[in-house]
């Protein structure tokens, strides 16, 4: 077996490499040759091919994502922006918060448990590598049709994987989403969010500076995980040798990750780290090229020093391995012993694999021979950029024209019909209680959970003495986005923003995970372009910058793409968590107010789906200035103790929110249809910019005056009372009957 060294590559310029099998296009391969001035070695090809993949280089999405920077609102809160492992936001009192959402969709379809578990593991390492202590996770999920047999395979595995990893890691799960829709059948979406807290001075960036500094690889040993491509390379470069079987699936070890967290944070506290990078997709290829290209010098690594789980790995495979629970740190030579001692304390394997040089090349050695000699920037940052063609889908107009008018879709009219429609809605799988899932997640660990599911947003106390806290919500409605991607992604943003404000926190920043079909389909690409434009514009208006995120493309089976599904996470800050607003209507006699304006807006609604399996028309209109005003009112009312409960209105409309608040508080409601509103529209419309609140009688005047002065419509719609939900003159629904309909739905599906 000959080793494909740099020298060898120079001497044998005509050797054909399997670039196509590694997913490179011919022009990309030629560009690599041009950059190097020779053919790449097998190891170099391995690095370029993974780093220039869609997943790592964002080649299809980059031109659109730029808007997040270009249109970023002026925000003093932003300490570290897009481009780092995760963005960092100032939340006051010297604290900074970092959060990010990422997808692990495809792996979770192949192996639901491990796919979802390693999704959590990956996003948590991004947070650690910023210098922050991870404090919570969330998991926005989308599954296929509830009654499809494969959903029974995917859902329990995904949930067990997220719980299995997060619980063992010791991070409270404080929220997420669960949505079923046949469009996700072969492409479930498993997005994971992590949030971390640090002091401003603890922020760390991924860079390797200072010639002579050591590069330390620590954590799990490197195995052959997720390197299908590299195996091809190995077999083709080195004629004859069939590579041993390599696992396509990565297995997570949350215990190892817990040790990584503690060990990394202890090393940070002792100020032993110059730069740090987690190993995720593209493993060492990514970590070495990113650290080197973000630093001031070059880097030299010896792959022989990488601790292996499988001694048969080739250098190409070592470079591409996606083994989990690994990190790479840059440490000054005089601090290396202290660093290794901390690793030893935590039983974490740590090895010096290289050092920072004063050159500008990334050089990698194997058995004493140089097998990589590249400018790291060309690997990490100079990947291809595509201006993919896009156009409005041919079917978009017809879809939008098919509005759910009263003529098109029969609406419940009598009290009995309305009552039946309410039961059907609250018992439908997307509106049903999700506690079968969420009770498998530890929401208490770390002892700072102020709010968790099913509250509008998760809330974590950041400082025990001052009660500073942060709140996060994630939202995304693929049905709305399918009807109108621009508005749909803004509605996702608005909903998450509203959810954060509903708990009393002030929205500060955004992270997003953009889940779409194939970028090679111009109609999907249009959805992506529109959704991105909508989100960037929305963030500008709301004053909440995008701090980072993730793109997941190719979520499609054959020609069928998923609904375009931008999932948006909004992070907010609350100065005093004791003032947080929960969702439960718990105090008898309190007045229920509807904030905002209700119109006949049922396009993409839950009612249209549940009652008629219909998707058409336009999604609800959006008024971002109204969203801002609503948020200000909710925050002020919480701070000044004017409301005891609040719940935002979204899919399912007013009645869904009212039933949830009633069931959570164990208190009934008497509701009255406001003048001029049709009862059906009152109950089921999904107009944006709305929330319901419960107001103590003593605060009513103060609260309504505030709304009046600020110009926010506030309509008294009822009172907290009894043990039924009653719509005056229409129907009465006992809480017990509602609870019966609303719970047990997911268990029943999986039985």
């Amino acid at each position: 077996m000959t080793l494909d060294t740099v020298k060898n590559a120079t001497e044998t310029p005509d050797v054909e490499l399997p670039w196509a099998a590694l997913g490179l296009k011919e022009d990309e391969y030629l560009k690599i040759r041009e950059i190097l001035g020779r053919r790449p070695t097998g190891a170099e090809l391995a690095m370029y091919s993974v780093m220039w993949s869609e997943h790592c280089s964002y080649k299809s999405s980059k031109v659109h994502l730029r808007q997040f920077g270009e249109k970023a609102p002026q925000s003093d809160a932003m300490l570290v922006g897009i481009g780092e492992n995760a963005g960092v936001v100032d939340v006051g009192q010297g604290y900074a918060v970092t959060f990010k959402i990422e997808s692990h969709n495809h792996p979770s379809y192949v192996e639901p448990y491990q796919g979802a578990a390693t999704g959590v593991g990956g996003i948590v390492r991004d947070i650690i590598s910023m210098g922050a202590r991870p404090v919570a996770v969330m998991d926005p999920l989308r599954f296929g049709a509830p009654d499809h047999p494969d959903t029974k395979r995917v859902l329990p595995g995904v949930v067990a994987g997220i719980g299995g990893y997060g619980n063992c890691l010791g991070l409270p799960n404080i929220g997420g989403e669960v949505v079923f829709d046949a469009c996700y059948q072969g492409n479930p979406l498993v997005n994971a969010l992590a949030v971390g807290v640090m002091k401003h001075e603890d922020i760390h960036l991924a860079k390797a500076s200072g010639a002579g500094n050591k590069v330390v690889l620590y954590g799990a040993r490197t195995g052959g995980d997720g390197i299908g491509g590299a195996s091809i390379l190995a077999s083709e470069t080195f004629e004859g040798g069939t590579p041993t079987k390599r696992p396509a699936v990565q297995v997570g070890d949350p215990f190892q990750e817990k040790l990584l967290i503690e060990c990394t944070l202890e090393a940070f506290r002792a100020q032993l780290v110059v730069g740090i990078q987690d190993l995720g997709a593209a493993g060492l290829s990514c970590a070495t090229s990113e650290l080197a290209s973000n630093g001031s010098g070059g880097m030299r690594c010896d792959l022989d020093d990488v601790p292996l789980r499988d001694a048969t790995l080739t250098p190409e495979e070592i470079l591409m391995s996606e083994s989990q629970e690994r990190m790479c740190a840059v440490v000054e030579p005089e601090k290396i012993d202290a660093f290794l001692a901390i690793c030893e304390k935590w039983d974490v394997t740590a090895t010096v694999i290289g050092e920072v040089t004063d050159g500008d090349r990334l050089e990698i050695f194997w058995h004493g021979e140089k097998i990589v000699d590249v400018d790291p920037r060309t690997v990490a940052h100079d990947g291809p950029v595509y201006e993919r063609p896009y156009h409005r889908p041919s079917w978009q107009d017809a879809l939008q024209a098919d509005a759910p008018t009263a003529e098109r879709l029969a609406r419940p009219a009598t009290g009995d019909e309305l009552r039946a429609a309410v039961l059907q809605l609250v018992g439908s799988v997307n509106q049903a209680d999700k506690s079968w899932i969420t009770s498998q997640y530890d929401r208490f660990v770390l002892g700072n959970t102020v709010l968790a599911m099913p509250e509008d947003s998760g809330m974590i106390r950041v400082d025990e003495s001052t009660n500073l806290g942060v709140a996060i919500a994630t939202d995304g409605n693929g049905r709305y986005t399918k009807l109108d991607p621009y508005t749909g992604s803004q509605l996702a943003l608005a909903e998450a923003y509203r959810n954060v404000a509903a708990t009393g926190a002030k929205p500060l920043a955004v992270s997003d995970c953009l889940n779409f079909g194939s970028p090679e389909d111009p109609e999907v690409m249009w959805q992506f372009a529109e959704a991105t434009r909508g989100l960037a514009d929305g963030c500008l208006t709301l004053g909440t910058p995008v701090t980072g995120g993730n793109v997941s493309l190719y979520n499609q089976t054959g020609a069928e793409a998923i609904h375009p599904t931008p999932v948006v996470a909004v992070l907010g800050v609350i100065d005093d968590v004791t003032r947080r607003t929960p969702m439960a209507f718990a105090e008898e006699g309190q007045l229920v107010y509807l904030l905002g304006t209700t119109e006949d807006e049922l396009g993409g609604s839950a009612w249209a789906q549940v009652a008629h399996d219909h998707l058409g028309g336009l999604p609800p209109k959006l008024d971002l200035d109204r969203e801002k005003l609503l948020a200000e009112i909710l925050i002020a009312a919480s701070r000044d103790g004017m409301i005891d409960a609040a719940h935002d209105l979204s899919d399912g409309g007013l009645i869904q929110a009212a039933v949830e608040s009633a069931l959570k508080g164990g208190q009934g409601l008497r509701l009255i249809v406001p003048d001029g509103l049709d009862p059906f529209v009152f109950l089921f419309s999904e107009s944006a910019g709305r929330a319901i609140v419960s107001v103590p009688r003593s605060e009513e005047l103060r609260f309504t005056e505030m709304c009046g002065v600020r110009g926010l419509p506030a309509t008294r719609i009822g009172v907290v009372d009894g043990d039924v939900v009653e719509l005056q003159g229409q129907f009465t629904l006992p809480l017990a009957e509602l609870r019966e309909a609303n719970t047990g739905v997911i268990e029943a599906l999986l039985a």
Binding site: E111, Q114, K245, V249, V251, R309, Q324
Partner: protein
Amino acid sequence: MARVVVDVMLKPEILDPQGQAVQRALPRLGFEGIADVRQGKRFELEVEGPVDEAALARIHQAAETFLANTVIEDFVVRVEEGQ
């Protein structure tokens, strides 16, 4: 009644954190000389009727589709001797 055993182990190339944890603990407890530990599952199936070719074929199929996750696990089916 005959007993059929299905042994399910993670494939050799797949990380086995459980086995690894056991292996690391053994020397601390004074048990040296164990170079590797893998931890898997053992299913004991009590089969009604004769364990003939057909029955074994069905159990093999059950193991393949259900007891083992063949994405990450291998399995072996065998009739327990001495029953």
